[in-house]
């Protein structure tokens, strides 16, 4: 029973957070500086999600070339930057990551 209560609470919290500005902020109009600041949200948040996983996958800093997360991330970034093809970057880096992890 507790598990269903857990899930219901998580679902409610999550939808309220996502609805915060979109639903409840309808009449809000942001000042120009805030609109500009919000442009940096994708770069800041996604990088904050990626960096600890790439540089410290086990919790401690691992900058060695034997860290498949780090090598895979650098390759994903390089392919995306050079080709602008997101899917290609994901597939290539994932394949390389898998190879490093399982063959190396």
């Amino acid at each position: 029973m507790t598990i269903w209560l857990t899930i219901a609470g998580m679902a409610l919290l999550t939808v309220l957070i996502r609805a915060s500005f979109l639903v409840f902020g309808q009449r809000l109009s942001f000042p120009a500086w805030l609109n500009r600041a919000l442009h940096y949200v994708p770069a800041a948040v996604l990088t904050a999600l990626v960096v600890p996983m790439a540089l410290a996958p086990q919790g401690t800093l691992d900058l060695s070339p034997a860290n498949p997360y780090l090598v895979g991330t650098l390759v994903a970034g390089a392919v995306a930057l050079l080709t602008r093809r997101t899917l290609l970057a994901i597939v290539v880096s994932f394949a390389l990551y898998g190879a490093l992890r399982w063959l190396g």
Binding site: I7, F21, Y97
Partner: protein
């Protein structure tokens, strides 16, 4: 563009994200079953919470026997970044009524946000709700289906959770962000956010993520201002 064409365009532009989310959905299903959740509870979480990273954290907390308020608080903080997404999309959502806002808010993931924000910023937000609907539905069905596969594989293949499939999320987010970093303020935002996330990792309730996001945004703004001042001078 007609609504249906926009829905299709939204789904098609989300294709890389669908591929990246697939392994993530699989390990979620695997981990959840491993932590003792029933198949029904696991799939209910994917269907009603629909927020990958918080589902992961919740499952590990449940497995560790954490108390309910701890799980809820952690969910709240892990998902708080979505409030930033919600705010970022607000200026583009001026014409949407509540019938649109609620479902699109429910389906607002990292991936859909990245796809639609890029589209709205570069091509304008006309018909944006249909476009976002396409991305949302594609991500939703994809997440649910791969969770099902994970539940099934979790029972069939022991040890799958340790295969490191979580790299798919890293690859997806990196591939989204990297092309944006050609502009200097975005690079500053990313560098600052990444550095803070790394240094502050392990803060309770994943507060490190919000701290990093805020510092990153400030760094982006500061860099933009500096560049302006240089042009003016």
């Amino acid at each position: 563009m007609k609504p249906f064409a926009l829905v299709l365009a939204g789904a098609r532009d989300s294709l890389p994200m669908l591929v990246g989310a697939a392994p993530f959905g699989v390990i979620f299903g695997t981990l959840a079953v491993g932590a003792g959740l029933s198949a029904g509870a696991t799939l209910a979480m994917s269907a009603f919470v629909f927020a990958g990273s918080s589902q992961f954290v919740a499952v590990s907390l449940i497995g560790a026997g954490a108390a309910l308020p701890v799980i809820w608080l952690t969910t709240f903080v892990v998902n708080l970044r979505h409030a930033l997404y919600s705010a970022t999309l607000l200026p583009y959502a001026r014409d949407w009524n509540a019938r649109w806002r609620w479902p699109l808010a429910f389906w607002l993931t990292d991936e859909t946000f990245a796809v639609v924000e890029h589209r709205f910023r570069s091509q304008g937000a006309a018909g944006g709700q249909w476009y976002q609907l396409g991305s949302s539905l594609a991500m939703y069905l994809n997440w649910f289906l791969w969770s099902v596969v994970g539940v099934w594989l979790g029972k069939a293949v022991p040890g799958l959770a340790g295969w490191g499939l979580d790299f798919a999320m890293v690859a997806t987010f990196t591939a989204i962000v990297a092309p944006q970093l050609k502009k200097r303020p975005a690079l500053a935002a990313a560098a600052a956010a990444g550095a803070v996330a790394l240094l502050a990792r392990g803060l309770p309730y994943k507060l490190d993520l919000m701290l990093a996001a805020l510092v990153g945004v400030l760094a982006g703004v500061a860099c933009e201002k500096l560049a302006e001042r240089r042009v003016a001078a």
